[in-house]
Symmetry: C3
Subunit: 490 residues, 3 copies
């Protein structure tokens, strides 16, 4: 076995993680393409354009405060925090992959949102009078949402891919997202304000399928690099809490003005609260001595937000939100305990962050809850105008009824699943090409291959750091030995 292992290591060593040319090339070329495409296609919408004053007067809008900016900008900023700090820090839990977790998250989100503005713009906000995409604050929120799908996928692959692979994953992920979103929201006419289907189900299955395609049979599961240290777990809690706190903004960010946003925030707030209690319960119950596991607290507490994504803007009722949260805390935590090892062992899906438990299952639950809530809607509960507004029964969907809407919702869920799995297999095949600079098995979950990692001199006691009079400087640098010498000598 020793020979076998050293052979494997040798093979791995031949893996080239040098991305000195590929990463800069991809970044610069793609960013240049963005500039050209933005120049050709993208302009401000009427609420962000300097012509707004005239537009306002022409439309009898009495005050600047009715600019959509004031309806949505606070929520946008909360969503922005979730994308960069929330997802970013949630991925810092590994002891030696915090740079990669938060740094690559930053990179792919910054690229993804530009590409998302274009892709979503072509499908949703193309102004046919002049062939331009008109963007405003709602476009920015949608771009952030779109990016979220790819960041979820990154969760499954954390520590096992190169930044170039991540950029490729993002390019295709955003493209697929924009298409499935168009099909689900516009063609099928499903509603999905918080993206249980469009974002979470799609993103999670996209990531899991790629992980399945990139299966690493020899990855050392007992490696200490796959575990956390005390402080990295605390860092990850920053991510968890910002996701948890701002999820009500996520689910309400693009809901209808007025009661739509208001209700979506309340439902999400309640669902998440319930999830926390059942997560703590299951985490303690299934652990030896009843000790809580940080992995569950960091992740499963968020499942309730995923699962009310679709139904948050509906009249789910406060107790309905609590029930959804209650169930998802249990399902998600049990997923970490039983399902993640099962997926790895039998289905060959390595899921670093456990996105199957945090996004895939709760996303599917969210789609189903949305379908049921939509099907059960009635004029008694929503009011005549309320029903039309909430489900957008206008234009070509004027004669739609709630029960049929429920079916459409279910259809949307299937589309998200198909795009996730199909797209993931396709993109996974591309990412298997041996040109992307991905790390060897032994270098997985380690920042070393892609980052200048500072030497950690904490272990040298302060006094030595400041007053050393050792003749041989090199020895002093190799920090421990000297101290030890000094002590054994004394």
């Amino acid at each position: 076995m020793g020979a076998c292992q050293s052979f494997r290591e040798m093979c791995d060593r031949t893996k080239n993680t040098n991305i000195r040319f590929s990463l800069p090339a991809v970044c610069v070329v793609w960013q240049s393409a963005m500039i050209i495409l933005f120049g050709v296609f993208i302009r401000y919408d009427e609420e962000a354009d300097a012509h707004w004053v005239e537009h306002r007067k022409a439309n009898n809008i009495s005050s600047d405060i009715e600019n959509d900016f004031y309806f949505r900008y606070p929520s946008f900023q909360d969503v922005h925090v979730m994308i960069f700090v929330g997802f970013g820090f949630l991925m810092t839990f590994l002891r030696r992959y915090s740079f990669g977790g938060v740094g690559f998250n930053f990179l792919i989100a910054a690229f993804g949102l530009q590409w998302a503005l274009l892709m979503q713009g072509w499908f949703h906000s193309l102004d046919y009078t002049d062939g331009k995409i008109k963007i405003g604050v709602e476009s920015l929120i949608n771009a952030d949402f779109c990016v979220a799908g790819c960041l979820i996928a990154y969760g499954a692959l954390l520590g096992k891919v190169s930044p170039v692979q991540l950029l490729v994953l993002t390019l295709f992920g955003i493209t697929l997202y924009a298409v499935e979103e168009f099909i689900i929201l516009d063609l099928i006419h499903a509603r999905d304000a918080g993206g249980s289907m469009v974002i979470h189900t799609f993103g999670a299955y996209y990531g899991l399928s790629i992980s399945w395609m990139l299966y690493r049979p020899n990855l050392d599961q007992s490696s200490s690099l796959q575990r956390s240290v005390y402080h990295s777990d605390v860092f990850a809690m920053i991510g968890t809490l910002f996701l948890w706190m701002f999820w009500p903004s996520f689910n309400s960010a693009i809901a209808d003005h007025g009661d739509g946003q208001h209700r979506a925030a309340i439902n999400t707030y309640l669902s998440l609260a319930a999830t926390v209690l059942t997560t703590f319960a299951v985490s303690s119950l299934f652990q030896k001595h009843g000790k809580l596991d940080m992995v569950h607290i960091q992740n499963s507490t968020l499942a309730g937000g995923v699962a009310v994504g679709t139904a948050a803007e509906f009249m789910l009722m406060p107790y309905g939100s609590l029930i959804v949260g209650f169930c998802c805390g249990i399902v998600s935590t049990l997923g970490y305990i039983y399902l993640t090892p099962f997926l790895e062992k039998y289905l060959k899906i390595q899921d670093t962050c456990g996105i199957h438990n945090l996004h895939a299952m709760p996303g599917v639950i969210g789609g189903i809850v949305g379908a049921i809530t939509a099907a059960a809607a009635s004029e008694t509960v929503y009011g005549h105008e309320g029903l039309i507004n909430t489900f957008d029964f206008e234009g070509e969907f004027k004669y739609m009824v709630p029960t049929v809407q429920g079916g459409h919702q279910a259809g949307g869920l299937c589309v998200a699943l198909c795009f996730g799995i199909g797209g993931g297999i396709f993109v996974g095949a591309i990412l298997r090409l041996p040109i992307w600079g991905d790390p060897a098995d032994d270098n997985c979950f380690d920042d070393e291959p892609y980052w200048e990692v500072p030497e950690d001199e904490e272990s040298v006691p302060p006094m030595l750091q400041y007053n050393n009079h050792f003749p041989n400087k090199d020895v002093v640098e190799s920090n421990f030995t000297v101290e030890q010498d000094a002590r054994t000598r004394s």
Copy 2:
């Protein structure tokens, strides 16, 4: 002494911190109760209900932007951050209790806000036409406020109680809060937008009384576990800063629309700024060599926000806010230097986070400042309508005058004190029962009893991690061995 110690240790060992059944049981049963009670009692208010469109038209509200959501949601999110990240990270300062600090804070806040919606709802927003509680964004803010009282109490007990005890503390704390709040705000008609009395005074004395009831005479004060490490102090600064920055939102969140919220934010901003300077001054002046103490910077800088809680919405004047902040920085820092050791030694009150200095004293000061400011109010300063709006001199309080209002404010402060102390003694007595799984003295301030703590390999210097050639593996450390084997064999 060695024998004595080992005897004590043996006794402690008999303490059972296994919460494998009690914690899950409490979480699941209470959460189920919440679902039932929410089902029976809680509905959306008219601004979050799908009937809003009709309501809006019937009431001649010209735009969706006048939905209370847009007045209060940004402040709500700031308050939410204070509760979960602010309080949570402020409690991560202990070297080995960061999981418990941020994690249990998370748990009890998530439970507390649900129970608070019910308790506050019964007292404040019960709709007598249908017997339902109607909730909106203001209810969510009030629930977060209510939770803050319990989190303050947790500060005194940090590291010395089990999560089950904390949930019991929260259940009773929320209940007491709702009652005292009803008495103070509705019956006595005191004003307390930022909760100097209702939240801080009550919460702090509630926690201190419980701590007095749970006094641990043999707690090793010299234990290194009661101190911080470098990084845990930096983590705690995250909590400090988010509390400090968002305190203007806290004090203005439920103030009157328009000038009320505006003024409350300005006053709090100024008071907090002044507190920072006097905290730094006193911290440096009373320390050997003038070195600053992180404990003061982390906590006392916040005292100014507590102390303008009541008066923030009044015409306290900018210089008035500065004066309050100036004094509180001094009082609070001196409290940490002189009062906390005194309380522990002579009054047998162990106060882990020093909430007496951060919440109790500034809260009482805030109540007094509020009473004086109210008594000094006049139509010259407030204007006729301004006076009525600010102090709500309407309905049965139509003939109230400022001087009398000042007396009512003082009365409110007394009620908060009584509920805090009385409630704390009562709940403390319950928590002394030997059934809650609290830790032994030796296990206090340690995450070990309730959390799966990752082994920390940081202590092994990098070169050893990869190239160690020590003959005796066990000494080098268990978790390493595997990796090492692999390498030496190859």
Copy 3:
């Protein structure tokens, strides 16, 4: 060389870093002065005053939601987070200067904002009817902006100055800022909503000039204290991300209501996204093995926000923003690689955080971009009213045209440069006086002189911490020895 070094050390030892009297004296006296000046000068403006109800009715303002509070408060809170958490945590990257980074940032910001309210008030919002400064939420934002200039300057001096020096730097910095801001915005009539010139160019050259005056020729550049450790780099990413995410709020916070704020947010969002990609590209391309450098990721990714500060509210167009961001990522990262060492070696400017790359160059670029964009403005693009509103062509500037405005913008940039460099040399001369308690060369970049630093016991392996049975307790406390004994013995 050993003799030389020990002589230098001896000289340094004579440096007195004891600030036990100077720091408290400055804090208390200055804070008292603030209280008096606020008492004499500062009152609430009409939107924060209790007379608002009457004002609203008299001015036919239909709803409380049109109070400026609701237009600007969410942006204000984002800016507030940037000042305290953004700048604060960005400066925690040094391994042993995190307390000083985040703590002194806190201190000088809290003092600076008070002084800024006064200084800016005298120049901008003095009500000549009663001789009072009237403050509202926009004043708070402007005060935070003013503070940002001084915090940028602190970045160049990080780790090399005492808190008393920092307070002096802030006092003069705020004063200079208010004067140059008055000249640039009011006299020259340049526009600078995001402060590329007024904040960044001024602040950066102010700090660099002070650093040049305080040059320390013997500072040990190889000192490990000038480097980061793994966790301190992750802490710094908290600062980076909050600055990055909230920069759209920074540039739009005081822009015109409606389309002005909306457009400024979109432009900043896009520019920052482009910067991330080129920063990653250059960082990888110029590093051996293509490894990314955390210093670049932490800092250069922000350059795009600086550089659209002036032009963000103009019709820069989405692709224009991307181009600005694209260039600044490259310029800024190259600055870190080539210019910072050059500045230190040949110009004797020691720039700890590299503010020349993050603020100075992008600030100047921002000023130029602003001038060009303004000069290119036309009624076709802006509309008649849009042009007047955006550039404020009203009152005495009624007959201004865009091309001339471009010249004025360029003039503004020159003023900012002159004030920065001139002011910095002047203040630097004052700070060279040997009375401020600044640290010796050997104590630079170390929290030890000004903070009670907790002993770090992390190096003791967990098993020793909890089960030690060593006879000699003192030995156990001096953490390393035991572990080592165990090793050498075995």
